[in-house]
């Protein structure tokens, strides 16, 4: 039967499809082996989120550590709440005192959230070591940001119109 040659070609076809799939995964979507791994959630309230969208990235000093998973309006306070998904490898990494700000990459680029890590009091560090408060849930005493926690220190997006308005207002006063 001549099907031997066909079988080899089908095998090559499948291999080609797998290579193409890998190319899409690794080079195009940057789907590292751990890229789709576990995440934990954080919340933050902003006065104004500007052009931030779901799936915008969360960066620490330019390194992507997570993504915005959801943006919604708080029912009573009527201010935007942003839900973040941070990769689990950064669990117990960022202190409670970290701050968030909405930044823009370049002049016209897309907006992202910059996370500025805070500090930890030395006595808290001792407490972690002694009581192991971060090792077992609930983490309420843990001085690191943990699942579901809210980041209180936030800076809103810079809105160009507000800036210009402010500038003109100041000019008028002089």
């Amino acid at each position: 039967m001549t099907s031997r040659k066909n079988e080899i070609l089908v095998g090559l076809f499948v291999a080609l499809a797998i290579i193409a799939g890998l190319l899409l995964a690794l080079r195009v979507a940057n789907q590292g082996m751990a890229g789709n791994g576990e995440t934990y959630k954080l919340n933050a309230r902003f006065d104004n989120i500007g052009g931030l969208k779901a799936r915008s990235s969360v960066k620490v000093g330019g390194v992507v550590v997570g993504r915005v998973s959801r943006i919604y309006l708080h029912e009573q306070d009527l201010i935007p709440v942003v839900e973040l998904e941070i990769a689990s490898e950064y669990q117990n990494t960022f202190p409670d005192t970290s701050s968030l700000s909405i930044l823009t990459s370049g002049l016209l680029g897309e907006q992202f959230i910059g996370l500025q890590p805070g500090f930890i009091f030395p006595e808290d560090l001792e407490m972690i070591e002694e009581d192991k408060v971060c090792d077992n849930a609930p983490y309420s005493d843990c001085p690191y940001l943990t699942n579901g926690e809210e980041i209180l220190d936030t800076k809103s997006a810079l809105v160009l119109e507000d800036l210009i308005g402010q500038f003109l207002f100041n000019q008028g006063n002089e």
């Binding site: 099907s3 066909n6 079988e7 070609l9 089908v10 090559l12 076809f13 499948v14 080609l16 499809a17 290579i19 193409a20 799939g21 190319l23 899409l24 995964a25 080079r27 195009v28 979507a29 940057n30 789907q31 890229g35 789709n36 779901a54 799936r55 990235s57 992507v64 016209l108």
Partner: protein, 258 residues
């Protein structure tokens, strides 16, 4: 009155053929797959997959190149040629990859399937299978169905990958967009689930529809040379329309409502 009558008859005919097509698929897929059938499926993957590869590779490359060229001339006006990568990648992964592959697949493999089965019917090969106590639905239709459904998403993935490389060829190597920004902005914009997997799901849905239409048109054609040519044309027309219509529905479901 006559118009109403005709409308009614056409509606009933439409439902009848949908029913017949469903029964055909049911008859073909109900069987427990056997080792022999897997071999037959591989054989058919050669026909519908490997033999469609060249046209997919060439058109993928050219569509990627054209996308890069078109995108560049617009983006460069805003100094945003760095966004060429995501533009090419997203439009190919979400739309052009699955849709163009499906249209080419319908024209290349779908019509061939219809003609092949139609001819087997016309030359009494299907009848003779039945008389040899071999169910043509399982022996002929089922392997072709699976081969098409497996091959077509693979072709779409290959198309997308080649298209993005084609975009790289024109955008980076020819027009001088920075290679780093082509890939890195693409990587930060393209999402695996949202863009790549959704594209593959689209391709899978198109594959089922194309192969189904092609097999049914062949299986139910009037076994004359005229009937086969009509069935082949209908396969391409119906499959193409179904692809475009379904594409809208799928896009609305996947990307429209968030």
């Amino acid at each position: 009155m006559e118009i109403l009558q005709r409308l009614g008859r056409n509606t009933i005919d439409t439902f009848a053929s949908i029913g017949a097509a469903s029964l055909m698929l049911y008859g073909a897929l109900i069987a427990i797959p056997k080792w022999k059938n897997i071999r037959l499926t591989v054989e058919q993957m050669y026909v519908v997959g490997v033999q469609s590869l060249l046209i997919i590779l060439v058109s993928g490359l050219f569509i990627g190149m054209v996308m890069a060229l078109q995108g560049y001339t617009i983006l460069v006006n805003y100094g945003a040629e760095g966004s060429l990568g995501p533009m090419v990648a997203l439009s190919i992964l979400r739309e052009l990859g699955p849709v163009v592959t499906a249209l080419l697949f319908a024209g290349r493999a779908g019509s061939a399937l219809t003609a092949e089965i139609g001819l087997m019917k016309a030359t009494e090969q299907l009848s003779s299978l039945e008389m040899m106590a071999v169910d043509p639905l399982r022996r002929i239709v089922s392997p072709r169905f699976w081969a098409g459904v497996i091959s077509m998403p693979m072709l779409a993935i290959i198309f997308s990958a080649v298209g993005i490389l084609g975009g790289h060829l024109v955008g980076v190597d020819w027009l001088g967009v920075d290679a780093g920004s082509y890939w890195s902005i693409m990587q930060s914009t393209v999402d695996w689930n949202e863009d790549v997997i959704n594209g593959v799901i689209k391709a899978l849905v198109f594959a089922v529809v194309i192969v189904w239409i092609a097999l049914f048109k062949g299986y139910s054609c009037i076994p004359t040379s005229e009937g086969i040519s009509k069935a082949t044309t209908e396969t391409v027309v119906y499959a193409s329309l179904a692809i475009l219509g379904l594409d809208f529905v799928l896009t609305a479901l996947m990307f429209g409502i968030s």
